[in-house]
């Protein structure tokens, strides 16, 4: 496929719509008689609603209805308690949606939401994760289906016997996905059928969930998802907005637009759990690891178990004869944590790659060399060779591009005026997975082709990438191919998440196009539309279980104000090995985006929870800081030319998440190199480094 469209840079197919403001997102479709929904959050953490008084709201001009557990349409009690909304008076966490006000205007809906009176019987609550919480327990498995704990060799003995040991604990706060477009839905019922325009990362799965909740055949539900203003995991599943909108629309028998407010995105739609991670590393005098242990603690809700797979990164990244990983969980009176860009690998790599830096200092070995020395061709977890592992090549290429060789390893060895300057490195890895998918391809008499597949383009460039893949699989220039995505009436496709979208979707596209070519006359166009479809379930399911991973190396240079402790990122550079890159333009953007979110994690983001209210108090973009334009001075992403025949027909590994993995560690390690101070709880803000010239 190398001579065709795949691997070439193309601008996004929908670029013109996006820069002219004509790309329509979920609540931007013209709908006759549309009404507006406004979600009402619970004001208590844990308890029971004793009374809902809608009178004042209903008396407000324009308000049509107050939908709550006492009058809402019934939902099937499905396997997702988070989505069983407005069905019972129980309150599980502060901010849980307990009513929807529907009105003829946004203003009236918002005012109505303010006027709904709700009384509660509130009970005591527990919302803060601690490492000695009495509720700590061992889950049966961790997200999505990994074993909770692993052990090889004898960690305790191996650790005790080693000449060099590192025993450190890292903490990460709650992180909130905050896509720029809130979770939003336009819902309409026609003759018992439900149509939603919804902002999500996978319309096929949203359709399935809605069908289950509303007890409808799947054919009676249609989910349209043409353009999505980001998700970063938080839209990877049906969420509150679509369920509330559908409930409200059924209740008032009119179409409803419902968008969550920015404040409502801090909790009810998921977030990355806080973590407490103890990492113990033991090595010989040459820095070769002999024992590795990673113990991770995180939280879930009382409604549903979500167990972040924080330590799985450590299971496969570096080799050692004695190894152990554990995960413990606490059920708190909080919303259920969920996916956020590289769940597990992201916080886990921050801890392990920081601990590797501490080990490098302890042994007195360059941190790039330490990682090279502990590379392994065999997956320590599965005991089988990796299908490809180019971590060392990424480290070497990155070191060369970054100018690592000139680095004085001593902390606080560089100064630029009042700035202390330092650099750091981290490894990066993310699994390369694929899921079953279906697609159809059609040849038309005019020589054009149409490929149909329910891909979701959340900004990744998926629409463009599948168009390129289809052109090559059909053996025609891409200009002759049209692609139709973002509609659950199209052939079913898995979610845009887990860095497995491109692998899964391209597999089905290629198979459908190949099947179509077999039906076409030699060298010509058919005299009528000819279609072929493909479903990769058998092929994907029959694939041997092998350790398939993408790798990367992250390099960062920071400057720290010697007096105030302010940290600025001078530059960041990542080199990745992720198989075939379909579109260098969109791939580079996505990798830079992941790295920037890692910068945001390292220096800016922190959900601050107040136990008195049991909720995050900085629930907006003025107080929950995310990296802005002025924070990004230089971030560059490169990749190696990597071919791996054990992946999928397109040879891709996925790039949506690996950019964030290790990024925060590289920056934290650079801060240590600059200052000699090791901050082990993120974010690294100036309050932790103020007066750094006196510290260390």
């Amino acid at each position: 496929m190398s001579a065709g469209a795949v691997g070439r840079a193309y601008p996004r197919l929908e670029g013109r719509e996006k820069v002219t403001g004509t790309a329509r997102y979920a609540v931007e479709y013209p709908v006759d008689g549309v009404t507006y929904g406004w979600a009402v959050p619970s004001a208590v953490v844990r308890g029971r609603i004793t009374r809902v008084d809608p009178a004042q709201a209903l008396a407000s001009p324009g308000v049509l209805a107050v939908v709550h557990h006492g009058n809402a349409p019934r939902l099937a009690p499905g396997p997702e308690p988070d989505l069983w909304l407005l069905q019972e008076p129980t309150v599980h966490y502060r901010g849980q949606f307990i009513a929807v006000v529907v009105a003829t205007s946004l203003e009236a809906a918002r005012e109505g939401a303010r006027l709904v009176r709700i009384d509660y019987d509130a009970g005591p609550h527990s919302t803060v994760l601690t490492d000695d919480h009495p509720g700590l327990y061992k889950p049966d498995h961790i997200n999505p289906s990994y074993p909770t704990d692993t052990a090889e060799g004898d960690f305790d003995a191996g650790y005790a016997a080693a000449p060099v040991r590192v025993d450190v604990t890292y903490r990460t706060p709650a992180y909130h996905n905050n896509p720029m477009e809130p979770h939003a839905t336009t819902a309409q019922w026609h003759d018992g059928r439900l149509l939603v325009h919804d902002s999500n990362q996978g319309a096929s799965s949203v359709r399935a969930t809605l069908a289950e909740l509303f007890e409808l055949p799947r054919e009676s539900v249609r989910v349209v998802t043409q353009h999505v203003g980001g998700g970063f995991g938080s839209k990877g599943y049906a969420k509150a907005a679509v369920v509330l909108a559908a409930l409200a629309a059924r209740h008032v028998d009119r179409p409803v637009r419902l968008a969550l407010t920015r404040q409502q995105l801090f909790g009810p739609i998921g977030y990355r759990t806080p973590t407490i991670q103890r990492v113990r590393l033991a090595a010989d005098a040459d820095g070769r690891l002999t024992a590795i242990c990673h113990d991770a603690i995180s939280q879930t809700s009382t409604m549903r178990e979500f167990a972040e797979q924080t330590a799985v990164y450590t299971r496969s990244m570096y080799a050692a004869p004695h190894r152990r990983t554990t995960h413990r969980l606490v059920r708190l009176d909080v919303p259920t944590p969920f996916w956020m860009r590289a769940p597990g690998e992201c916080p886990g790599a921050y801890a392990l790659e920081s601990a590797m830096d501490e080990l490098a200092v302890a042994v007195g070995i360059d941190p790039v060399e330490l990682r090279i020395r502990n590379d392994t061709e065999v997956d320590p977890d599965q005991g089988r060779p990796f299908t490809s592992r180019n971590l060392v090549a990424c480290l070497r290429e990155g070191a060369q591009r970054f100018g690592w060789a000139d680095r004085d390893p001593a902390p606080r060895s560089r100064r630029d005026g009042h700035w202390l300057v330092g650099s750091g490195v981290a490894g990066s890895s993310y699994p390369a997975r694929a899921r079953p998918c279906s697609a159809t391809a059609t040849a038309r008499p005019d020589g054009s082709f149409l490929v149909r597949i329910n891909v979701t383009d959340i900004g990744t460039g998926a629409r463009t990438a599948m168009w390129q893949v289809a052109a090559d699989a059909l053996g025609v220039p891409p200009e002759r191919v049209a692609i139709s995505i973002g509609d659950s009436d199209l052939p079913t496709a898995p979610v845009a998440g887990g860095s497995m979208g491109t692998a899964s979707w391209s597999w089905a596209v290629i198979r459908a196009c190949q099947a179509l070519r077999g039906k076409l006359p030699e060298g010509g166009s058919p005299d009528r539309d000819v279609s072929a479809e493909a479903d990769t379930s058998d092929e994907v399911g029959g694939q041997p279980t092998l350790p398939r991973y993408a790798y990367g190396a992250q390099f960062a240079e920071v400057r720290v104000d010697a007096t105030t402790g302010e940290v600025r990122l001078n530059r960041m550079l990542g080199v990745f090995a992720a198989g075939q890159v379909v579109n260098p333009t969109t791939a580079r953007s996505q990798l830079i985006g992941g790295m920037t979110m890692g910068l945001s994690m390292a220096l800016h983001e922190e959900g601050v929870l107040d136990e008195r209210y049991g909720d995050w108090v900085n629930h907006d973009l003025a107080t929950y800081h995310i990296t802005g334009c002025a924070d990004v001075e230089s971030i560059e992403a490169y990749w190696l030319d990597e071919r791996d025949g054990e992946l999928n027909p397109a040879g891709v590994k996925g790039i949506g998440e690996i950019g964030i993995v290790g990024a925060a560690a590289a920056i934290a390690n650079a801060v240590h190199h600059a200052t000699g101070v090791r901050i082990r709880d993120l974010p690294i803000r100036l309050d932790k480094l103020v007066g750094v010239s006196e510290l260390a």
Binding site: P179, T596, M597, L621, I626, V632
Partner: protein
Amino acid sequence: MQGGPETEITTDERHSSRVAFDVNDAPREMTLDNRTTLLDALREHLGLIGAKKGCDHGQCGSCTVLLDGRRVKSCLVLAVTLDGRSVITVEGLAGPDELSPLQAAFIAQDAFQCGYCTPGQLCSARGMLDEVDRGWPSAVTDDLGAPPDLTDAEIRERMAGNLCRCAAYPHIVAAVRETAATR
């Protein structure tokens, strides 16, 4: 103010006003709820969906439009205050079926991913370049007396009010730089 739940409910009319202003050089006249923001007037009343609602609190910049040539966050402007004013949205940055150089540069530099913050970035960049032309300094301008030199640091600082969670920042800066250089 009046309007507590125990007082008599006021009518819609008492909460509404007639307002006339230009949008993308076309006169528009409508009766709007006094609480309607410019952003909601554009999106819900005029069908101009380009300006986006990212936070509704003036914290993200997705709703940025040009008001009498200057960039504003349209979620913080009440529409009824705009009688006789002129609004340019992303839909008005170029003629029909045309792209402005800035819009073309955004596509060429891949200065967006999900596209949701993009209309605000574009309007903000357009307003920002005019501010530079007028000689307005920024927080990172060294010489407040001289015309600002549009360095990357200046662009980054001047575009810092427009958040992009996909983090297209380096490409946004490149697109603005390219546009500024060819003006």
